[in-house]
């Protein structure tokens, strides 16, 4: 069975701080990995995705993530956060086929101005 673990359930940072949100997955085959963001009162939006190729993936709003196969990780990073980055962030795994995504439990990020 596949699973996704997000170890930081709540993260509070000051503006301009650097961000790294951890995501580890468990799956035996080829994986497709995603980070979604949900701003307060809004729907889930795709932040970035990894399918193959360069393990360093750049997404919208200055976010990036690095796929490290040996560590089964796909951590999300941003060098300098803004107040508007306050949101809930979900890491997700697609194990192939038409199956739905397997999500982590989410990380609630609060940026203090």
């Amino acid at each position: 069975a596949q699973s996704v673990s997000q170890h930081n359930h709540h993260v509070i940072l000051s503006e301009a701080a650097s961000l790294e949100l951890g995501c580890n997955y468990s799956y035996g085959g080829t994986v497709n990995l995603f980070w979604y963001v949900q701003y307060p009162g809004q729907h889930l939006q795709l932040l970035l995705k990894y399918f193959s190729g360069d393990p360093l993936v750049k997404g919208i709003k200055g976010f990036e993530a690095e796929f490290i196969k040996s560590k089964f990780s796909f951590n999300l990073r941003k060098p300098s956060v803004q107040w508007s980055d306050t949101a809930e962030y979900f890491c997700a795994l697609l194990g192939g086929g038409a199956d739905g995504l397997t999500f982590g439990k989410g990380t609630h990020l609060i940026i203090q101005p």
């Binding site: 795709l46 739905g100 397997t102």
Partner: protein
């Protein structure tokens, strides 16, 4: 731009009622999904469908059923609502690609309360 529309933003129903949650997408996507989102549990897949009249159970299908009579519409049905089904329900859609290259697009969600 992809649009996934869920018919209700908020819904309040009573225990034992039959509840229908509707979802429509306008991008001719083959795949459609229903998730529920609960604090501390993230999103969990209830059912998905990869074609009209086709349905597959997700991780937590108990107490739910689905209907896909038309490609653009995917309905989630609570046969006899119970209080533990109070949750935020999210619909998503994507193109069918067994390589997994197509991201899912989400609706705004329906916050369902069962009294």
């Amino acid at each position: 731009d992809v649009k996934v529309t869920q018919s209700s933003r908020y819904l309040v129903k009573r225990t034992g009622e039959k509840v229908f949650l509707e979802c429509v997408q306008d991008m001719d996507h083959e795949n459609m999904f229903w998730y529920r989102q609960d604090p501390g549990l993230g999103l969990r897949l209830i059912y998905f469908s990869y074609d009209v009249k086709m349905k597959e159970k997700g991780d937590i299908p108990e107490g739910y059923s689905v209907s896909r009579e038309k490609k653009e519409r995917f309905s989630l049905i609570l046969e006899s609502a119970s209080t533990n089904q109070t949750s935020m329900y999210l619909c998503a859609s994507s193109f069918l690609d067994r390589g997994g290259n197509q991201p899912q697009h989400f609706g705004d969600g329906t916050r369902l309360s069962i009294l």
